[in-house]
Every structure is written in structure tokens, then in C-alpha cells.
């Protein structure tokens, strides 16, 4: 399946070749194509967010949409995240299908009330008659001293909220397919996009398509240890797996793709095969998807594991600015490899 393949380098894409009818796109191109097709096909859809119509186009992900669809379909907005989320939710309840874009996930705490107390609960509170089909795109920043307020992975804040769905695409194929599914969903959907994924490449069909939520994918099969990797961590895990293969360790990489609903079945099936578990997330450690995945194992059968599980995450600290501190802050392939070795009782040297 070319769609599910993770490409660690742009060059690898060529191995399929354009002759086979496969088309390579970057993650950000896939996001843009998804939104273009959503706007083309659904007159009730509109895109709203700070700078969605400017020359940067939210890191390119909305570039050209305003020119093509006009200011009523692609709307700049005042800097008022909570109010505008409420306005978007109100428009959604009245039949529109807004896509709300945040340049940084860090701005989501501004609109927690409208997401948690309103959009997510509206369908239930109304006894089922009302729906709030609202897509909230949010981007995790990293690097160049983005620091504490411009680099957070905050999906953990939302896991406990019934009525909300959360997706975290890692490949261009999923960026398009999951976003189109989100736009078609009748519930509020939070999209977690890591900025470092924007340049990654993969094969993406041109025609519209939707990837269902709640289906994890085995990105790379392996025997010795399961690494569940979320968002940008998928790439780090693939790198770690490649490195470890050279050392005779076979790693299975599972990408949940959606965090809520969470496909624990696929994860558990993998753990059942490997007997070992590492979970890697782009978020601080406590109370997040990583702990949720571990809880699922403990609730199903702790005996599945031959060794303690290991979590790879941001540390229990805000993000620092200095490049030296940033470097120390972020976990990557090396840490995942170390964690895998730990589950196998192998020394981390060599």
C-alpha cells in the first residue's frame, strides 16, 4: 500500500515513480488540497482564522484559498479565539461547516470554554437534535526559540472531553484523508498538526477521499517491541526502527492516527505479538494519549507485557528558548531507540 508508507527522505518517493500513476505531495500540499476540495464540494464549508488569507497562508496550508473562494468562504478574523470559536460553533449549529485554523496549538486554551463546555456537548445536551460540525486545525510549533507559549502539544487537554474527536495525521495521505473526514463529520474535530510534518512527502490521490477515524495503522511490522508513535513521533520512531534493525532488533511502529476515538484493538494486537511497548508523543508526559494507551493495556491484560512499558514524551517542563536547552528538551529517534532497548533489557550503548 503506497498510501500508508512513511517516507523518511524526499528522495525515497522516487522509487515508486510517477509512471505508476502515483502522485507525491507534501503534507502541507495535502492539507491545502483537502481544504480546496472541501470548499469546492460543500457550499456550507468555510475557513476562518488569523491570517488564513494572507501571503503566508498559515505556513502555506491555506495559500491561495482566499483568492479562489473569496472573503466569505475564507475569512480573516479579529484576535479573539474564544468568541470566534463560539461564533463558529453557532454558525455550525445553524448549518454551516466551519474550519477554524490556529497557527499554534498554544492558542487553544483561549477557547477551551467554547470547545469543552459548548461545541463538544451541544449534540448531547440537545437530546440529539443539534450538531456542531466544526473542524479545529491547530499546529504544534518547534524550534528557533519558539519557547513556552509557541510550541506546545496540547492534545492531552482534550482527551477527557466527551463529544470531541481528535486526530493526529502523520503522512500526507492521512493529512488529506483525515481532514476530509473531519469536515464531513457531524461533530467537532480537533486536528493536531505538527509543523515539522509540513514538508514530509508521500503519495496522495488527487480525487477526494476520506480516511475513517479510529483505525490505527502498523507503519512498519516488527517482532520485538511495539512503538506507538503519535504525529511527528512516527518519523522519529521509523528512524529508530531503521537504526535498531541494523542492531538486530525488530520494531513494530503503530500510528494511532486518531486519538479520540483511539483504536486500542490494533495497538493491543501488536503488543500481543511483541510483548513490549513504547509510546512516543509530542506532548508533556502526564494525563495524555501515552498514559491512556498504557491504561488500555493494563485494563485488558497486564500479562501481555514481558517488561515494563516506556513512555517517550516532552519532559515535565515548559519549552525553553535557548538552542542548547531546546536540544536537551526534545526527545527523538535516539530516545525511542533507547526506550526500546530498555524494554528488551539491552544496554543503550551500541
Amino acid at each position: 500500500m503506497p498510501w500508508t508508507k512513511v517516507f523518511l527522505a524526499k528522495e525515497d518517493l522516487a522509487c515508486f515513480g510517477p509512471g505508476e500513476g502515483l502522485r507525491g505531495l507534501t503534507f502541507v500540499q495535502a492539507l491545502l488540497e483537502a481544504q480546496t476540495q472541501i470548499l469546492e464540494n460543500d457550499p456550507s464549508a468555510f475557513v476562518i482564522g488569523e491570517g488564513v488569507n494572507d501571503s503566508g497562508g498559515v505556513f502555506g496550508s491555506t495559500l491561495g484559498l482566499a483568492d479562489r473562494f473569496g472573503p466569505k468562504r475564507v475569512m480573516d478574523m479579529p484576535i479573539a479565539e474564544n468568541g470566534l470559536t463560539g461564533i463558529a460553533a453557532g454558525a455550525a449549529a445553524a448549518g454551516m461547516r466551519p474550519i477554524f485554523v490556529h497557527m499554534r496549538m498554544d492558542f487553544l486554551p483561549m477557547c477551551m470554554d467554547q470547545i469543552v463546555n459548548h461545541a463538544a456537548k451541544w449534540h448531547y445536551m440537545s437530546g440529539g437534535a443539534l450538531t456542531v460540525p466544526l473542524v479545529i486545525r491547530s499546529i504544534i510549533g518547534r524550534g528557533w526559540g519558539s519557547a513556552a507559549q509557541h510550541s506546545q502539544g496540547l492534545h492531552s487537554l482534550f482527551l477527557s472531553v466527551p463529544g470531541l474527536k481528535i486526530i493526529a495525521p502523520s503522512t500526507p495521505y492521512d493529512a488529506k484523508g483525515l481532514l476530509m473526514e473531519a469536515a464531513a463529520d457531524n461533530n467537532p474535530v480537533l486536528v493536531v498538526e505538527h509543523r515539522w510534518l509540513y514538508g514530509s512527502v508521500g503519495y496522495v490521490p488527487e480525487a477526494p477521499y476520506r480516511e475513517p477515524f479510529g483505525k490505527a495503522l502498523v507503519r512498519r511490522p516488527g517482532r520485538d517491541c511495539t512503538v506507538v508513535a503519535i504525529s511527528q513521533m512516527v518519523y522519529e520512531a521509523m528512524r529508530a526502527a531503521a537504526d535498531l534493525e541494523a542492531q538486530g532488533v525488530s520494531v513494530e511502529v503503530v500510528d494511532p492516527r486518531s486519538l479520540k476515538p483511539l483504536d486500542t484493538e490494533t495497538i493491543l494486537a501488536s503488543v500481543r505479538r511483541t510483548g513490549r511497548l513504547v509510546v512516543a508523543d509530542v506532548a508533556c508526559p502526564m494525563g495524555g494519549a501515552a498514559s491512556e494507551i498504557m491504561a488500555a493495556v493494563l485494563e485488558t491484560d497486564p500479562g501481555l507485557l514481558a517488561a515494563p512499558a516506556v513512555r517517550v514524551s516532552f519532559p515535565e517542563a515548559p519549552t525553553p528558548c535557548s538552542p542548547v536547552l531546546e536540544e536537551a528538551y526534545y526527545p527523538g529517534a535516539r530516545h525511542i531507540a533507547g526506550a526500546v532497548k530498555k524494554t528488551l533489557g539491552l544496554s543503550d550503548h551500541g
Binding site: 453557532g90 454558525a91 454551516m96 443539534l130
Partner: protein
């Protein structure tokens, strides 16, 4: 009272039918709330109720200008708005009694009624939470090129929330068809306005966004009706939002059927002064004096409403509770709704 609207179109004097209608709506709201006061001690209406007795003129006067396709957004104190917009009292009461035939199938209760066919797309009890929703409804109408307007009711307390500011700014920016209606009843729970805002003229805030705004006697249904006529015409003509601050007073405690002055929540004299200015009584004498209705007519009106409400209570109480399994169902909307 003061106004900052230069461009408010003059509205024609209301017909006798309209006046009778206003009285009927006010009486309907008053008697509905009093019915709740009467049944509440039975302890089978197991949800918090925020009664609007004393504030009926605002709901009646504003909503008389709304059409079926118009939107309405309210708050925890919503009964009057729902009734005036035409929601069936039985369906509301069934909801408050937690019955399956309630407007939210028992999931919402008194704080969260909804009725899409009346343009009520859910109700928030988060103070200020509903204001942006109402603006969002107007945005939807605007984007679709519909001529529906959106009436957004909220309290003086809600005007302190950031969402109020953000909503006004956006509505004014886009020229959305919103009628903002602040029911300034001088209190938020037990906090007097003076403990929360530096100046009591909430409508002056709206002027900062260039929104035409009026402060008016919210206990005078004719004044409300006239101002709301200007507001609705303005919004419907595509001239953008309009703001009404209706000065009024609630008679009961913040929540529940009791008066709260005994608990020291506010001065007894203040309450009694405002009760003297009862919006219903005042208007009833007005139209009886004007010969539009006679005492017998209003008595008949009251009797008819009472009978309807008695029947609604009886019906609601007779309805089934939802199945317990429903508690965890309906969290996510299916693909097709």
C-alpha cells in the same frame, strides 16, 4: 432614556391586536413561572430553575418582532424567551420534569432548552457563553444570504465576559443582523452591578464598536416594543447589529422559586419598589384604561392561560422518563442526522 442611534427608523404605533398580544405574552410568561413556583415544592421538578418574573416585558416586547425563521439565543434565565418565541409550554415543562418528551429528551433541563423549529439552537448556562453563538447564527444567515435576524438575550453580568466584547466587535465588523438584548436586572446572582462594573450603562460599551445602542425602561413593554422595532428593522435591513439595554428587575432569587431578600441578598425596599413597577400590571391597567381590553377580558385571558398551563403540567407529569440507558447515548452525532 438615552439613545445613540441616529438612524433608527420610526416604527408605526402598535395595533390593538399587537397590544393585546403583548399582554397575553407577558401574562403567559408570568403564569408559567408562577406555575413552577407552585409545583416546585413537590420536588419532582429536579433541576435548578431561574425564573424571570418581573422581566416579562423584555421577552414580550422584543420577540414580538421576530419571525419564525429568526434565531433566538438565551441564557440560564430563558423561560420567557422560549415561550414568547412559541415553544410549547408542555414540551418545556416535560424537559424540566426530566421526561423523555422534553425538548432535549431530558438531557438539558431548565438551563438548556432548545427548539430548532423556533430558531433556538441550544441554550448555554455558561455566563456569556451563548452570545457568540447568536452572532454565529447571524453569520450563517449572512453567509447564506438569508434575511433572518438573530436576537441575543443576556444579562448585565454576561456583559462582563470577554465573549461579550469579542462578539460585539465581530458582529459590528461584519455588519451582521444581530439584535443584542441586555436585560440589566442589576444583579448577577447576589452581586449588585456596582460591585462588578464601574458604570451602570451597559449600552455605552456597544457604542464603542459603533453599534447603535439604546438604554430603555425594560418594564415598559411599549417602550421595549418600540425600540425592538427599530432594532429589528435595522438588522433586517442589513444595517448591522443593534443594541438594547433593557433596565429591569427580577423578583425571585437568582435560582429557585423563593424570594431572596430574607436571606440578605438584597434590600427588601428595593424589591418592593420594583414590584410596584410590575411590567404586567402596569400594562394591563394601561390597556384597560385605553379601552383596548376590559377587566373581564383580561380575566378570561388569564383563565385560558391558566387552564392551558395546568393541562401542560399534568401532561408533562404524565409523560415517561427516558430510558436509563440513554444517559450514555447520543454523545456523538452519527454521519447522517
Amino acid at each position: 432614556m438615552s439613545t445613540s442611534s441616529d438612524c433608527a427608523p420610526a416604527s408605526p404605533a402598535p395595533s390593538r391586536d399587537v397590544l393585546r398580544g403583548l399582554l397575553e405574552t407577558m401574562l403567559f410568561i408570568r403564569l408559567f413561572e408562577e406555575k413552577i413556583v407552585a409545583v416546585y415544592p413537590d420536588q419532582d421538578m429536579k433541576c435548578p430553575v431561574h425564573l424571570c418574573i418581573g422581566q416579562e416585558a423584555v421577552a414580550a416586547g422584543v420577540i414580538a418582532h421576530l419571525r419564525p425563521g429568526d434565531y433566538l439565543t438565551s441564557t440560564h434565565r430563558n423561560h420567557g424567551h422560549c415561550l414568547a418565541k412559541g415553544v410549547d409550554p408542555g414540551i418545556l415543562l416535560a424537559e424540566f420534569f426530566g421526561r423523555a418528551s422534553g425538548c432535549c429528551r431530558g438531557k438539558g433541563g431548565s438551563m438548556h432548552p432548545m427548539s430548532p423549529e423556533h430558531g433556538i439552537l441550544g441554550t448555554s448556562a455558561i455566563v456569556g457563553g451563548g452570545i457568540p453563538h447568536g452572532v454565529g447564527h447571524a453569520l450563517a444567515a449572512f453567509l447564506r444570504g438569508q434575511d433572518a435576524i438573530s436576537a441575543v438575550f443576556f444579562g448585565d453580568g454576561a456583559s462582563e465576559e470577554g465573549s461579550f466584547h469579542e462578539s460585539l466587535n465581530f458582529a459590528a465588523l461584519k455588519g451582521l443582523p444581530v439584535v443584542f438584548v441586555c436585560e440589566n436586572n442589576h444583579y448577577a446572582t447576589n452581586s449588585p452591578l456596582g460591585a462588578r462594573q464601574p458604570n451602570p450603562d451597559v449600552h455605552r460599551r456597544a457604542q464603542g464598536y459603533g453599534i447603535p445602542a439604546e438604554r430603555l425602561d425594560g418594564n415598559d413593554v411599549e417602550a421595549v416594543y418600540a425600540a425592538a422595532g427599530r432594532a429589528a428593522a435595522h438588522a433586517r435591513a442589513g444595517l448591522g447589529p443593534y443594541f438594547l439595554e433593557c433596565v429591569t428587575y427580577r423578583w425571585k432569587g437568582h435560582v429557585g422559586p423563593d424570594c431572596d431578600y430574607e436571606k440578605g441578598c438584597r434590600p427588601k425596599d428595593e424589591l418592593f419598589d420594583w414590584m410596584e413597577r410590575c411590567p404586567v400590571k402596569r400594562f394591563q391597567s394601561r390597556i384597560e384604561d385605553a379601552g383596548i381590553m376590559d377587566a373581564a377580558g383580561t380575566q378570561a385571558m388569564i383563565a385560558a392561560i391558566s387552564a392551558r398551563l395546568d393541562a401542560a403540567v399534568a401532561w408533562a407529569r404524565g409523560e415517561k422518563y427516558p430510558d436509563a440507558a440513554e444517559a450514555v447515548l447520543g454523545v456523538y452525532a452519527p454521519a447522517e442526522v
